[in-house]
């Protein structure tokens, strides 16, 4: 038990001190007293503290999140519910969200990551969707840091262990490294589900007198104050916070998915809400609050794993694999039969009232009695002071030495930790279960077929933290644009995003400035690309001591592919085809991978994001793909043009001869510059003229850059490297590193 729990069990003398220990400021504690008209008891104080924690209340970020565009004709439900809902046609919706589990994963990588997956799955199936895909965005510290290897092994094991067991394919994600994550890794998990449009379930309670039902696993003393932990800066007290980590039970989750979906096929459910952070507290408040009702719970009826749990412990437990539902009266037996069949706990623990109050009873006494609406309406909201990040000057390519060994540089880039193949990771994820994975990890976006149809979802997660660190606004826009581009590159139409905003301590103005900048950039990109935000999550206080992580707004994008026959992959398909670059190459080296990995510099402004050009080029590429004439497509990102071509060559096992003009730009700027809004297409010679003419008509820059064929990549000046050598280098780093030999 933590110190807080011990005190909570008895009768603490100093409520003021306890409030502070629970993470409530003096002002917030005063507010609790004015809301209740008296001093809260320990249980009530605990409820206030978790409801008003940064993690649950978004008190520092709310003001900024309102700037994100959240609507489009296809958005069925934007932020505010458990997950976002978009119309994907044919009477179907896609439901998705991303969430962080950074702090628990640092403390206990396997279970922290596993329960992160479990939590995000529940957010999605609680809305009536069958989960069809998981993704994850991972940021680790320097590979040389002594903890990194152990953290990777645990996190990957935990994500796989949970996702594989529940039988939802883990189809994509990202994984990069930087010393700024040494003391605070990021583990963001995303789930996408499918439901019928007329069968979406919401959290809003309705119907005074309706039974409140608890299903799933029993409540134990695990994870108490997890939400508050997620809102605290890591320091030396990490050790003391340990018992707040929970153990996941994916087997029970699988049963819970099946049982919930079975009950959802009837019309017995009025509302449903998973018990995530702050468990029974936030789920009951959320349901009652959204319905404008009151709720009465008999805590003696809550299924409990351990004897003698206090009201405080029951309300704050973050035991996993639990759900709270409001059923229609008289449907309890039918629901109970389903949950018993799936060997899950089922208990009617209370009912809805018209009092607008949350009343908890235990052992025949009232353990808490608090008004529902004021708790959320008067939730603290902070306009934290912020300072904009200082702009960086751009890097003149001529100030960066020109390499004489292009092939060597390419090999170094494709085997550096950020670009090296992540096969070692996705091999441990069952990415094929459900037998609808049309594009496995390794490409631009995962493609998962809508079961039983000939349409598919394209899904990706993206963010380039080094850009966000260099310029949060540009980085925020770039992350959204890259997600949009990745979906476009497989031939799909981008529809909407979820996000996970990972930043440092919001009480520091420069961090708040990073957060604000990222949001501003994202908002602009979402608007320009018609790519609204429908759900998301904020994770602040990602600091160790005084170092914050690089601002990392992870973007999870979803698009629809209506015609599977034109689906693109990055793999080159044959010899003798033309390679065409779409988009303007300006040779931008600032904040590039080349600058960091080859020149050993991390300075400079990131590549500018021209949203009009982004839109024009992407729409052009998608339209061309729809004609069926494109053979392969890949967007240009980390490492620039040559890395993109190399990835296409490695995926296809086919080489290419590049005819890159030596003209305007120095070779390293041309080959490794990270200008945005670019793609590489493979087309038959006979289709080349059409492509170039169309591009010209649309005002899109399209340039032939080479011809496919052979076993090597070769370039002007006679440099060459075999595709197999590249592939070996690309595949080798991570397994070698994990086995301790790199």
């Amino acid at each position: 038990m933590t110190a807080a729990n011990t005190k909570a069990a008895g009768q603490p003398q100093n409520m003021e001190a306890l409030a502070r220990e629970f993470g409530l400021s003096a002002d917030e504690h005063k507010l609790t007293q004015s809301i209740l008209g008296r001093t809260p008891n320990v249980t009530e104080l605990g409820v206030f503290s978790v409801m008003w924690s940064e993690h649950c209340s978004y008190k520092s970020s709310k003001k900024w999140l309102r700037k994100l565009p959240t609507t489009a004709p296809w958005v069925v439900c934007g932020p505010g519910e458990n997950a976002g809902v978009i119309d994907i046609g044919d009477g179907m919706v896609a439901i998705f969200k991303m969430e962080s589990h950074n702090h628990p994963s640092f403390i206990e990588p396997y279970q922290g990551a596993a329960t992160g997956v479990g939590g995000i799955l529940r957010d999605v199936f609680t809305m009536g969707a069958r989960p069809i895909a998981n993704l994850n965005s991972l940021r680790f510290g320097d590979p040389k840091h002594p903890k990194t290897r152990h953290l990777i092994a645990g996190v990957v094991g935990g994500i796989g262990g949970y996702g594989n067991c529940v039988g939802v394919p883990t189809v994509g994600g990202e994984c990069t490294f930087h010393p700024r994550y040494n003391g605070n890794i990021l583990v963001n998990a995303m789930t996408v589900g499918l439901a019928r449009k007329d069968r979406v379930f919401y959290a809003r309670a309705a119907g005074v007198g309706n039974p409140v039902v608890y299903v799933g696993s029993k409540t134990g003393r695990d994870g108490i104050h997890g939400a508050t932990m997620a809102s605290a800066v890591f320091g030396d007290e990490v050790e003391a916070k340990r018992p707040t980590v929970q153990v996941g039970d994916p087997f029970t989750e699988k049963l819970l998915i099946e049982a919930c979906l079975e009950l959802m096929a009837t019309d017995a459910i009025v509302s449903i809400q998973d018990m995530g952070a702050a468990g029974l507290t936030s789920s009951s408040f959320e349901m009652a609050g959204k319905g404008g009702l009151g709720i009465e719970l008999d805590l003696d009826k809550v299924p409990q794993r351990e004897p003698g749990m206090s009201a405080y412990e029951i309300m704050l437990s973050e035991s996993q694999e639990r759900m709270l539902m409001v059923l229609k009266q008289g449907r309890e037996a039918e629901a109970e039969r389903i949950f018993r069949k799936w060997e899950l706990d089922f208990a009617v623990i209370g009912r809805l009232t018209d009092t607008g109050r949350l009343v908890l009873r235990q052992h025949g006494q009232v353990a808490a009695d608090m008004p529902v609406a004021p708790l959320s309406e008067q939730m603290p909201e902070y306009a934290r002071p912020w300072v904009p990040s200082a702009p960086r000057s751009s890097v003149d390519a001529n100030s960066v030495p020109i390499p004489d060994d292009i092939a060597g540089v390419l090999k170094k880039l494709i085997s550096c930790p950020d670009v090296a193949s992540k096969r070692w990771i996705w091999d441990q994820y069952d990415h094929m279960v459900m037998a609808d994975t049309l594009q496995r990890p390794g490409g631009d976006a995962a493609v998962v077929r809508i079961h039983g149809s000939d349409r598919a979802l394209a899904i990706t997660t993206d963010c380039t933290p080094r850009y966000c660190d260099a310029d949060p606004k540009v980085g925020g826009a770039q992350a959204v644009a890259e997600a949009w581009r990745n979906i476009t590159a497989v031939g799909a139409k981008p529809l909407a995003i979820t996000d996970c905003m990972n930043c440092g301590n919001p009480e520091r103005p420069e961090i708040m400035g990073q957060f604000a900048g990222c949001i501003e950039g994202m908002a602009g990109a979402c608007k320009a690309l018609d790519f609204p935000v429908v759900s998301g999550n904020v994770s602040l206080y990602n600091d160790t001591g005084s170092t914050g992580v690089q601002p990392t707004p992870s973007i999870g994008g979803v698009g629809i592919l209506d015609n599977l026959r034109v689906m693109q992959t990055i793999a080159l398909k044959g010899a003798g085809h033309a390679l065409v670059r779409i988009g303007h190459t300006r040779g931008h080296l600032g904040a590039s991978l080349y600058l960091r990995e080859i020149a050993g510099r991390e300075d400079g402004a990131p590549p500018p994001v021209d949203l009009q050009e982004e839109r024009r080029n992407g729409d052009f590429v998608r339209t061309f793909i729809q004609t069926g004439k494109s053979l392969a497509c890949h967007d240009v990102s980390d490492g620039g043009l040559l890395v993109a071509v190399a990835e296409m060559a490695m995926a296809g096992g086919i080489g290419a001869k590049l005819e890159i003009p030596t003209a305007a730009l120095p070779p390293h700027a041309f080959l490794f510059g990270e200008d945005q809004a670019r793609y590489v297409l493979e087309v038959a010679e006979s289709d080349l003229a059409t492509l170039l003419t169309h591009a010209e008509n649309e005002g899109v820059i399209a340039r032939r850059i080479g011809t496919t064929g052979g076993a090597s990549l070769t370039g002007i000046g006679g440099w060459a490297i075999s595709v197999s050598e590249l592939k070996a280098a690309n595949e080798a780093w991570l397994p070698a590193y994990m086995s301790g030999s790199a």
Binding site: I107, E108, Y110, Q111, D222, Q246, V247, D249, R305, S319
Partner: protein, 80 residues
């Protein structure tokens, strides 16, 4: 020298495996089972010359690798 390590989940930490095993035993008709907790058990062969040094390295192995002290407790014995 020989050593044996028992690694068990801390009190209060959910033990999904133990829970599932208990259910399976009930289904098989073993009604006398109240509860099951599952742990790990390791047997080691060591080159250490004496008990004191073996104990010292065992403690360090448990802390650093064999147990995850966030959620697990460990106990070991060492003998010749």
């Amino acid at each position: 020298m020989k050593a044996r390590v028992h690694v068990t989940l801390k009190q209060g930490v959910l033990d999904p495996q133990g829970k599932a095993i208990a259910n399976a035993l009930h289904a098989l008709g073993f009604d006398s089972v109240i509860g099951v907790r599952q742990g790990k058990f390791l047997e080691l062969d060591l080159k250490d010359a004496d008990t004191a040094s073996a104990e010292k390295s065992m403690r360090s192995m448990c802390e650093r690798l064999l147990a995850n002290t966030v959620i697990e407790d460990y106990a070991f014995e060492v003998w010749k």
